[in-house]
């Protein structure tokens, strides 16, 4: 298999990377881990003239806590770095678990958080849990920086709000009163299988009442989607088994799956129902975020 020829550049700063992306325009692509991009280039689905590598940009790799901001995950952090990170294991273990649910060790050692998000594949495993935790995307471009809700980052399969010359710098998980969260991926095998459906949820529970809730569905719509009607069923109510069952049914009804090689519309809807219930129960009972 041949990768079509391209020019490789490895800028020394984020600013330089953005400037190069502006200069090369549509003929350039950012290269992070390459686990998606190189596959597409080998398959002939993409033929960029320039690859702008993030290899030297160590500032994009750190995972740290900033008072007043929250946990900042650099876009270049790999899935294994996320999975094994102490801070994340203590504060948001569900994110580590979601990273762990992906691919296999070899891919998790090169694939990055940024690549997983910018790819904007509906079945990607990190967006649901990050959106459930109200994460923000920090975007840097040649004319400055902006931070948006990750929920608003995705426009459609392969499409994000990133404009020419912009790169995703980091994901921010703000401090929150959430009491539990969870992501369940349903794949056809335990390793190396993409999600047929995935459901993430986060809950804030006190005195048996659901004060706040987010339910986010993966692989059942053109973008990761919040099941807002389902959330409304549960928000502000005393938690009961019947209510959680109802939440699952509503989430299934509002999901927008397609039939493909991994599963049919009916099968996926049924999965959303079951996984939503399981994910909520785990988030309510588990007692970790």
């Amino acid at each position: 298999m041949i990768i079509p020829e391209f020019e490789y550049v490895s800028p020394q700063s984020v600013q330089e990377a953005c400037a190069l992306l502006v200069q090369y325009g549509d003929s350039a692509r950012v290269l992070a881990g390459g686990s998606d991009l190189l596959v597409k280039m080998k398959d002939g689905l993409m033929k960029p003239a320039y690859l702008v590598s993030l290899k030297n940009l160590d500032s994009l790799k750190a995972i740290r806590y900033e008072t007043g901001t929250g946990v900042i995950i650099g876009a270049r952090a790999t899935h294994n770095e996320v999975m094994n990170n102490r801070l994340l294991q203590e504060k948001y273990r569900s994110v580590c678990e979601a990273a762990h649910s992906m691919a296999a060790d070899q891919i998790r050692n090169i694939g990055t958080v940024g690549g997983n998000l910018v790819n904007a594949v509906p079945s990607a495993d990190l967006p649901p849990i990050l959106i459930a935790l109200d994460a923000r995307a920090r975007i840097v471009g040649s004319s400055g920086e902006r931070t948006i809700a990750l929920e608003d980052f995705f426009l459609g399969p392969g499409k994000t709000v990133l404009e020419k010359g912009e790169i995703l710098a980091a994901i921010i998980i703000p401090d929150q009163p959430t009491t539990g969260s969870n992501y369940i991926k349903f794949g056809l095998r335990r390793a190396g299988a993409l999600a047929v459906a995935g459901v993430a949820s986060s809950v804030t529970v006190s005195d048996g009442t659901c004060r706040d809730v987010r339910v986010v569905l993966g692989a059942v719509a053109p973008t990761p989607m919040r099941a807002r009607q389902a959330e409304n069923v549960l928000r502000g109510k005393k938690i009961s088994r019947e209510l959680i069952d109802e939440t699952g049914r509503i989430a299934a009804a509002e999901s927008k799956p397609i039939s493909d090689i991994r599963g049919s519309i009916e099968y996926r809807r049924n999965l959303v129902n079951v996984l939503t219930r399981r994910s909520l129960k785990a988030a309510i009972e588990k007692g970790h975020i």
Binding site: F6, E7, A104, D105, Q106, I107, G192
Partner: protein
């Protein structure tokens, strides 16, 4: 100027392979897999799917397994790699390799280099893994012959020998 080298088309890459440092010129679209096989003759690194699915091309990058078919040679700059040829020490097979032989964990052998490197990386970071941890560590390595049972046994036996 015997060979025509177009400016900007070749990149100098400095990397360590099996303990030896090398500086090589590579084209941007060369994969680490092709560099290891064609330039260094480390043909124990196998070429399977070339898409990250099978793990036959597994090598250790700074002691962590990666699919060399999905790493560009230019991106290997500054890193250290171990291929299956670098697992034996001083002409003596590593205990894990011996256990692959003892437990008959090799049939056609195509998956074995990758399996052994994934197993080796696991044992380096976790000398006493559970069977589940072993199965997970080789989750990115496909074997079409053995049914995995003997491979798992071999890695567990090598771990046993660690203690």
């Amino acid at each position: 100027m015997g060979t025509a080298i177009k400016k900007g088309k070749l990149h100098v890459v400095t990397l360590t392979v099996n303990g030896e440092e090398h500086a090589v010129l590579v084209k941007a679209n060369t994969t680490l897999l092709d560099l290891l096989r064609e330039e260094f003759d480390y043909t124990g690194t196998k070429k399977g799917c070339e898409l990250g699915d099978c793990g036959a091309c597994t090598v250790l990058m700074d002691d962590r397994p990666v699919n060399s078919c999905l790493v560009l040679a230019v991106e290997a700059d500054g890193h250290s790699f171990t291929t299956i040829e670098g697992v034996e020490q001083g002409g003596k097979l590593d205990r894990l390799q011996e256990e692959f032989i003892n437990q008959a964990a090799v049939q056609c052998g195509y998956c074995s280099p990758g399996m052994i490197l994934s197993g080796k990386a696991l044992l380096m970071r976790n000398p006493h893994p559970t069977e589940r941890e072993v199965r997970e560590a080789i989750g990115g390595n496909l074997c079409r012959c053995t049914g995995y049972v003997r491979i798992v046994k071999a890695i567990l036996a090598a771990a046993e020998a660690n203690s």
